[in-house]
């Protein structure tokens, strides 16, 4: 499933989409950034509730396909601007992390 397709699912909204055709392969859920860098795999969709600017660097370096912000948390303008510059996709989900992952699993299966 492409990142742009995930953003089109009911309950999901595109926040930054500089690399919309990237394929999602697997999911990682976590808020501790070092943990995420140690465990997330390249091309995973990364579900988190963290919105500070460092999530963009973590996503870029860990090479995940997109950040999915659960619980409808909204990133600020600086985060979105940096994400566009660094080619990091950000999608907002109105569901909690678990339901977000279940939705992803349903659509990527």
């Amino acid at each position: 499933m492409k990142v742009i397709e995930l953003a089109g699912i009911d309950g999901f909204t595109a926040e930054a989409m500089p690399d919309e055709n990237r394929e999602i392969d697997g999911v990682y859920i976590g808020d501790l950034l070092s943990w995420v860098m140690g465990r997330a795999q390249a091309d995973n969709a990364w579900i988190t509730i963290m919105t500070n600017i460092n999530i963009v660097a973590v996503a870029a370096l860990a090479d995940v396909s997109c950040i999915v912000l659960a619980e409808d948390v909204k990133p600020d303008g600086q985060v979105l601007k940096t994400a566009e510059e660094k080619g990091v996709n950000i999608i907002r989900s109105r569901f909690p992390a678990y339901e977000t992952a279940v939705a992803l699993s349903r659509f990527t299966a």
């Binding site: 808020d31 950034l33 070092s34 390249a42 460092n54 660097a57 870029a60 370096l61």
Partner: protein, 140 residues
């Protein structure tokens, strides 16, 4: 071993907003060199963890990256407080980071273990009160 390319970066201290800039630049440079994506991922994650450590603990420092025929060497040097007990610092979950740092999602005691995990070789030289130099090697 012939040295093909080297990059030098200054890492700003106490600046979490710009933390990771050197790593992102390294990533870009390695991609231009045609290095394979998984190697780039390992190098940039290890370097970012080191960069974050320098921001959290040492008020910044310098990063040097050297690319040769067989791999990539990353040298991170700072003039911070040093690491009193390196063995302890290498344990997953051990951290001396401040609460403010933890609230950003760092300081989980995963930095050094991640650096070791993603590199083929890692050496820490540290003297309390003088500073720390971490040398990491990722082979192609």
């Amino acid at each position: 071993m012939s040295e093909l390319l080297s990059f030098h970066y200054d890492v700003d201290g106490e600046n979490f907003t710009s933390a990771g800039q050197a790593s992102v630049r390294v990533k870009k440079n390695l991609r231009q060199l045609g290095v394979d994506p998984e190697t780039i991922r390992r190098v940039s994650i290890a370097m970012y963890e080191g960069e974050i450590n320098m921001v959290i603990h040492a008020n910044g420092g310098v990063a040097d990256v050297e690319v040769d025929d067989t791999g990539i060497t990353i040298i991170l040097a700072d003039n911070g407080p040093g690491i009193a007990d390196i063995e302890k610092a290498m344990q997953e979950g051990y951290s001396t980071a401040r609460d403010e740092v933890r609230s950003l999602g760092f300081g989980a005691g995963m930095g050094l273990p991640n650096m070791k995990r993603y590199t083929d070789d890692m050496k820490i030289e540290s003297e309390p009160g003088k500073g720390t130099t971490v040398t990491m090697r990722v082979n192609f």
